[in-house]
Every structure is written in C-alpha cells, then in structure tokens.
C-alpha cells in the first residue's frame, strides 16, 4: 500500500500531464483523447460496480444510451445548452440505475450478466418505439449542434471537448476515490468477497447494491451525455451491445478494483481496435506470412486474443501488472528531483 502523499503526488502529476497535453498534440489527437476521457468516466462507474462490488454488468452501454438521449432530447427539443444537460443526464441515469438495482438484487453472478446483457440489447431498440419516436428521433436519431467552445473561451472546439471530458473525469475520479476508500468502499468489497459474511457483519445488501448500481449508472449517464455532445448525434446504432462488451473489457484489462487502472483500460479500448491490424502485421511479417490483416474481422481477432490472454494470465494479471508497471514507472519518475 503506497502512502497517501505519494498518491496525491501521482494524481497531481497525472493532472498536470492531462492539462498540458493539448499543447503538444494535434487537434485530432485532442478530440480522440476526449473520447478516452469519456471512457475513463464510464469505466470509473463500471469499476465501482464490477470491480469493487463484484456485480457483473454487460449493460453499461445501455446506461450511456440513457444519458446520451437525455442530453440529445434536452438540447434539440428544449434548446437547453449542452453543458447544463450533463448533470441532469447523470442524475436521471443514476435514478434509472438505482431502480434497476432492485431487480438486480435478486440475481447473482452469471444471471446478472444475462439480465444486464438483455438490457444492453433492449434499450437501443426501445428508442425506436413509435410512441416515443417523436422524442428520440427513432432509427434516424437526433442531430445535435456541432461541439463548440462556450463562453468565448480561447480554445479550439476539440481542445474544449478535451478539457471538458478530462476535467469531469478528474473530478469524478476524485469522487470515486473518496467513495471507495471509506466505509462504503469497505462494504462494497466485503460484498464482493463474500455476501453472506458481509450480511452477517451488518452490511445491508439491498442498500449497498442498489447504491452501487445508482453510482455506476450516474457515471455511465455523464459519459453518455459527453458522448452525445462530442459526436453531435445519437441513434440506436450508436449504442450496440459491442459497446457494453468493450467497456467491461476495459475494466478487466485495467485491473478489477483498481481506479487508476481505468485510465489504462480507457486507452486500451480506444486505441487497440484502431491499431490491432498493425499489431498483427508485425509478428506475421516476421514469420514471413502474407496474410491480409486489413480484412474484416482481423482487428476483432487481435482484440479478442489480447483479452483472452489478459484473462488467462491471471484475472487482474497482465494488464494489472502492466498498469502496476506503469504506475511504478511514473512513481519513480515522480520521485526524481
């Protein structure tokens, strides 16, 4: 266990890096990294639920969809500034998650996975339902305004998105950290390790589990809201089941029960699919094999195999240790005068 000042130091270094990065990267990278920030927020929520409380969720994409649609409807229909819809989207989605927590209470392990999987499948098609189509735009979706820098700030739109997403990510990171380090975090971990033991030591399962679902959904909703703002569009195709799978992958790869790991997980899920075919090209060309790695499916294979490797080399294994390695590195760098 590292001491608290070191953690603060690390966080400060991380925050400084995040804050300065846009000065050194292109507009496009800033836009891409804004998406990483969004993933960080989504993964933080999932990490509280899955990593700490041990509740599997394959439906996190559905919560993002709820947040995204909230923002899209409020901005396009009621003309509310997108920035103000973010907390609303978070709170509304949090409420939805909290309510979903009640039925989820009765489901353990694999059954919860099934139920949340079904949620991920069902929510996007609900947006097409005729009676609410007027609000959701049906299959055609809702087109938002292009992201723009507000209040006359001297920033490009991409840089603004970057700071918006990462600013919120930092804030929510601290909030999550405060949450899991205290009494609540201990209770959640106790539930993860052994529900019966947790109950017998006086922890209320319904209270904590629904709370964890609510918190997780709140984060998902904020992330979804930002997602809608950055891509200036929502429709059912924007939230495929694959998104939920991707998010769960991010949490696992980042290391379960590690908040810092989510940054690694977010980078992983953003960049791996884009560069998977290059990753594959390298060993194949070494082996002298001429295989078309740009073919459809090839990136998915790489991505799946890496996920598999991470899982097989120890549940919080490879990525966990990779993340630990990175942390150790930043640690030692931070200590240098």
């Amino acid at each position: 266990m590292r001491s608290t000042p070191v953690r603060f130091g690390l966080f400060a270094v991380g925050a400084a890096v995040v804050a300065l990065l846009p000065l050194f990267v292109s507009e496009f990278r800033a836009f891409e990294l804004a998406r990483v920030g969004i993933y960080v927020i989504a993964l933080l929520g999932l990490s509280v639920l899955t990593g700490y409380a041990g509740q599997i969720s394959l439906g996190h994409g559905a919560f993002m969809a709820v947040g995204a649609y909230t923002t899209a409807i409020l901005t396009t229909r009621y003309g509310i500034r997108d920035l103000w819809t973010i907390p609303l989207a978070g709170l509304l989605t949090g409420l939805v998650g909290f309510l979903f927590g009640f039925p989820a209470l009765r489901l353990v392990g694999a059954y919860l996975a099934l139920a949340t999987f079904a949620l991920a499948v069902a929510v996007p098609s609900l947006a097409k339902y005729g009676r609410i189509e007027e609000y959701t735009g049906g299959g055609g979706g809702l087109l938002l305004n292009l992201p723009a820098t507000p209040f006359g700030l001297p920033l490009s739109a991409s840089d603004w998105l970057y700071y918006l997403c990462w600013g919120l990510a930092g804030l929510l990171f601290v909030a999550a950290w405060l949450l899991v380090r205290g009494r609540i975090g201990r209770a959640l971990r106790a539930i993860r390790e052994n529900e019966l033991a947790a109950v017998s030591s006086g922890i209320s399962l319904p209270a904590f589990k629904t709370f964890a679902f609510g918190v997780s959904a709140f984060y998902g909703g904020v992330a979804g809201s930002l997602y809608a703002i950055t891509i200036n569009y929502v429709n059912p195709d924007t939230f495929p089941v694959g998104l939920s799978i991707l998010l769960l992958t991010g949490v696992v790869v980042g290391g379960l029960g590690s908040l810092a790991g989510v940054v690694f997980g977010a980078l992983f899920i953003q960049y791996l699919p884009l560069y998977a075919s290059d990753l594959l090209d390298w060993p194949l060309s070494r082996l002298g094999l001429k295989i078309d790695t740009s073919a459809p499916g090839a990136p998915a294979v790489v991505y799946g195999l890496i996920l598999l490797a991470v899982l097989l080399l120890g549940s919080s294994g490879a990525a966990g240790s990779l993340a630990r390695g990175t942390r150790a590195l930043t640690n030692s760098l931070a200590r240098r005068p």
Binding site: T4, P5, F11, A12, P22, L155, I231, N232, Y233, P296
Partner: protein, 413 residues
C-alpha cells in the same frame, strides 16, 4: 489537513492551465490538402465488418477501380489523374455513427484527405455532414439514397449524393401500379427505420389511397419475417411491395413462396440485384419465388445477358478478376462501387490540373457526364437546381433468371 490541500492545488493548477489560450496556432493552410504532384488522397468510411457488412463490396469495387486508374494511362497519357495516383483510405465504421465521426475526423485532420468519397449509410453520414461542411471538405457521392442528401443542399453545400433518391424510386413503383393495375390490392413489407419510411413517403401518395390493403414493418435484426409475411398474405393482397435490405428481402420472397402466396412482386433496387434474387431462388428451390419481380435500375446489370457484350461490363469483369480475385461479378454492389469511383475520377479531371476543394466541389455540383456505367440513354447531371446526380431510372423485370428493362426512362427529379 495539509494533505488535502495538495489535490486542491492540483485542481487549481489544472484550471489555470485550462484557460491558457491555445498557444500554438495551426500553420497556414496549404492550397489543397491531400494533393501533391504525385498523389491525391481521398477517404471514406464503410461497414467493412459488423451488421451492415454486406455493403463492404462497394468499398472494394471503388478500390479496384482506383487501382486500375492508377495503373492505366489516361487521356493525358499519364497514369492516375493528371499524373497523380489516387490514394483511397478506407476505414471500417461498422455502421456505428460514433465510429464514423471519429474516423471521419481522422481522415480530415490526421490523414489530411482532399475529399470524402462514397461514405456509406444514412445514419453514419448524418452526424459528419455538419462537420465536413463547417470544415469545407467535400462530402461527395455518399452511398445512400436518402432524400436529404439532395434536398438539403442549401444548408449543406459541401455535400452531394449520387444515386436516385429513395422517395423518387418509391414514387416510380407507385405510379407504375396506379397506371397499369388500377384495381391492385397492395401489401407492403418495410424495414422499420428511416430507410424504409423514406421509400414509403414516395410510394404511398403515388400508388393512391385505398390501394394499400396492409403494411407491416420488420426489424433489421429480426431472425425471420415469416410472421409479417403471413399477416400480409392474410390481407388478401394481390401485389407485394418489399422495401428492405437484402437479407430481409430474400427472406420475405422465400417465405411468400413457401406460404403459397403468388402476388405480383415489387422490390426496391437496393435488394433486387441478380445476386440476391439468385440467392432467393436457391433458397426457395424454385424460380417462381422471384419470377416477375419488378424493380428499378439506373446502372447496367453485369449479370444480364443484355449487357453480355457491353464494353464497360467486360472491363468491370476483367478488373474484378484482376484486382479482387474470387469476388462474385454478379454482385451488383461491386459494379455500383466501380461506377461511383468512375464518377469521381471524371469529376477530378473536371476539377482541373491543380484541383482545390472548391474546384472539386464545383465540378461535382455542375456535372454533365455520359457515363458508360449507366443504362443507355441516361446521363449523370447535377446543377444547383437539381442536386441529384443520377435522376433517371428504368423499370426492369426479373424473368427466368435475368432482368429485362421495360418502359421508358423515368425522370425522378
């Protein structure tokens, strides 16, 4: 207490940094991004994998044609266009608009493409349209027939479609039925999304009130359409209009045949290609399942005996065999991709020896092109007044395994 101050300080520091003006302004913009003396880089997003991946051959067809253009000597005796090789960057957006946005920005800001060509899908292309127009990057010849690509050009001047729009195509079937079969009782099966509804918006008013006796939607993800087709059959209709993407359409035709229902068949052009109808024939085990299907055509059909000796179709088959061995030449989507790539190449020639984005756009929206890829007697024409480059179709009927065009040329716009 002091410990708690440290993160606070960090947050303050971050907040201060946030407000520092974007220090490094971008360097002065070059005349034409993506254009060098030896190359022109263009790009597009397509569903290479995922649920809509059956459209992937369009991207392949375009790529094949550009490879050919790069290898052959053009009218100016140079390879490529005015000696510039065409570099076509394809990204797989899996038909997910969130990916399309990211990949399109990548094409524009990172790969610095000259223009976007042939991007596929109404929904994926919708959110990138305002962005590309803001950046003044041409979004040419999108691979979707939604009416908005032509109809909303005032608002989005940098965007233009290519194929006849769905509403007009729907109207063509409606007109045909009203004219030739006034007592028709029509049942409609449509894909339950904006694509299906766009067709219906043209079809319904044209066919006339009262002729539609039943209409049922189906979900593109549904494993089967049997229930829907059985409902439509029970309506007692004698004509069956199917508006779907290929898989649902094949299922619908096969199911109608199996249920012993033999109405007059009308199928929208996206799904009524020889390859898909051949598939339906094989699945039903009988030609009767697809015999008499009426659809519209605006491109030559590479599978039709009518064009067996056509020069363009022969070139198409030769190129496909050379650059994409194993690809099925009867799959009209390859032909569609090559025809579209050819339109782009001709546009690029018309944009001049030193093309700019403005000159390219200008060429694309003021096009007059006798394209050998289109059915004879039609041309590709666009103007400020009529921003639908292809606005001519012919009705065509599938009989005994081949399409035969009939009737006159129909102006859709």
């Amino acid at each position: 207490m002091r410990r708690k101050l440290i993160p606070l300080a960090a947050v303050v520091a971050a907040a201060v940094l946030v407000t520092i003006p974007g220090a490094f302004a971008g360097s002065a913009r070059r005349e034409a991004p993506g254009v060098t003396a030896r190359s022109v880089t263009i790009g597009g997003t397509f569903p290479i994998s995922g649920p809509a991946s059956l459209y992937a051959p369009i991207a392949k067809g375009m790529q094949v044609y550009f490879s050919y253009i790069n290898a052959r000597r053009g009218p100016d005796r140079k390879r490529g266009v005015y000696g510039r090789q065409i570099v076509f960057k394809i990204y797989d957006d899996q038909y997910n608009p969130a990916q399309t946005v990211q990949l399109t920005r990548r094409l524009v800001e990172q790969d610095k493409v000259f223009a976007l060509v042939g991007g596929l899908g109404t929904e994926p292309q919708t959110p990138v349209r305002p962005y590309l127009n803001q950046q003044k990057v041409p979004q040419l010849y999108v691979s979707t027939g939604a009416t908005t690509w032509g109809a909303d050009r005032k608002q989005y001047p940098w965007t233009i479609g290519w194929q006849p729009d769905y509403q007009s195509e729907g109207r063509a079937y409606g007109d045909f039925i009203r004219r030739t079969d006034p007592s028709a009782k029509v049942a409609v099966l449509f894909q339950n999304d904006d694509y299906g509804k766009d067709y219906l918006a043209g079809f319904k008013p044209a066919v006339g009130a009262g002729r539609i006796v039943a209409e049922v939607g189906y979900e593109v993800t549904a494993p089967s359409v049997t229930s829907q087709v059985a409902q439509l059959k029970a309506s007692g209709a004698d004509s069956f209009f199917v508006v779907g993407t290929p898989r649902g359409t094949i299922q619908a035709l096969v199911t109608a045949y199996r249920l012993g229902w033999r109405p007059k068949l009308y199928v929208n052009s996206v799904s009524a290609t020889d390859a898909f109808l051949t598939q339906a024939t094989a699945a039903a085990g009988s030609r009767e399942a697809v015999n008499g299907v009426v659809t519209t055509a605006y491109l030559k059909d590479p599978a039709s005996p009518k064009y067996a000796n056509d020069k363009t179709v022969a070139t198409y088959k030769r190129l496909l065999a050379k650059y994409a061995p194993g690809a099925d030449p009867n799959n009209g989507l390859y032909f569609y991709g090559m025809a579209k790539a050819d339109t782009f190449v001709q546009t690029l020639y018309r944009a001049g020896r030193n093309p700019t984005r403005e000159s390219l756009l200008n060429a694309a929206v003021n096009l007059k092109l006798k394209s050998p890829w289109l059915i004879p007697g039609t041309t590709i024409e666009s103007s400020a007044k009529s921003p639908f480059p292809i606005s001519t179709v012919k009705l065509t009927r599938y009989t005994n395994g081949a399409f035969t065009e009939f009737g006159g040329i129909i102006k859709t716009r």
